[in-house]
Subunit: 225 residues, 2 copies
Amino acid sequence: MTDVTLRERVLAANHAAAAELRERFAARGTLVVNLISSPGSGKTTLLEATVTRLAGRLRIGVVEGDIATERDADRLRRLGVPAEQILTGGACHLEARQVRDALARPGFDDLDLLFVENVGNLICPTSYDLGEAFKVVLLSVAEGEDKPLKYPAIFSRAEVTVVSKLDLLPHVDFRLDVVREQVRTLRPDGTQLELSARTGEGLDAWIALLERRCAAARERAAAPR
Amino acid sequence: MTDVTLRERVLAANHAAAAELRERFAARGTLVVNLISSPGSGKTTLLEATVTRLAGRLRIGVVEGDIATERDADRLRRLGVPAEQILTGGACHLEARQVRDALARPGFDDLDLLFVENVGNLICPTSYDLGEAFKVVLLSVAEGEDKPLKYPAIFSRAEVTVVSKLDLLPHVDFRLDVVREQVRTLRPDGTQLELSARTGEGLDAWIALLERRCAAARERAAAPR
């Protein structure tokens, strides 16, 4: 078997598992968001701020993907949300069957919103559908303004781009307008947000987007088939 | 063929190509450094500062690995050093045969120091020997202090850890002593450097390390066999 055939087989199996998950989420009216970025772009910090803001308004769960350590799941559990840690052991992305297995654990049955925080990597997670409603890619202003052009696949596949760590903007060389234009070229119909989870700047638009999309997912699940 | 067998075959082929490269570099007395980090940790900026500092003292060449764009090689060419861009087209790491092919281009024959800047990724490049003398992993202070524990393989395999973007330290939550201890645990015999390529802080130790290792590589090549 060639490399290509093997890769196609792996992707086909993942696709089937993702389709099954997507159907299950749709029936329950659960919005699922697949968060992707480099290590250290602030995925977990954004989730902490999001969970805190939405406490009592939406039932939220988190599935965390990492090579090693339970640190990220622990950070979310401390905020009182169900959080399951998937340890990939070395693999550079999550696969749909891992998400399915994690969701078999208690606490994930009746959610309005499920975040899947992928392994820190701008490349490998791009090709793996996890049954999500949409992908969100984070790019911290500390990472430099050339990243969308250097990692075009993820910036074209993610419906939402979040420029994070906006509080660092005065201290780095990062032109927001240059990045906006790159992302618009790669994903003309996408949504672009700019925020700092640390200061709260820009969080309102992110929260509003999630609430709007959760309401739509609930309505679709309640509509007669 | 199973996934595991295929991966083993790929790694074995890479290992053979890397061994051939290492022998060639040893015979010529060229020091080869494999630079690895997340996207946006400052690998190219460090190379620009390094090339500028060492101009006229060492003959330097650079091989750049990226998914897309020639931006990084262009940045180095502007400084007058031979720079070859490898576009992986989607692959998350460089392989030894790609480095070998890049070095067949003009300008790479008589170097004291060759940098291979890997694809921005803390995971995949870890397993691929490129014939280097040693790996350097960069971690920017903006990425967070938990990264060595979350990506232990690269921090244990890299002989040198460079904490970069030290000028951002006052603006982020990053305890240098916590990171030093994590890295020391993962790589007790490693060298740790902390610097800002932007301000020049800490660069002297990095330059001194490179000059010392280049001198040693030259001496070994000149010694009777």
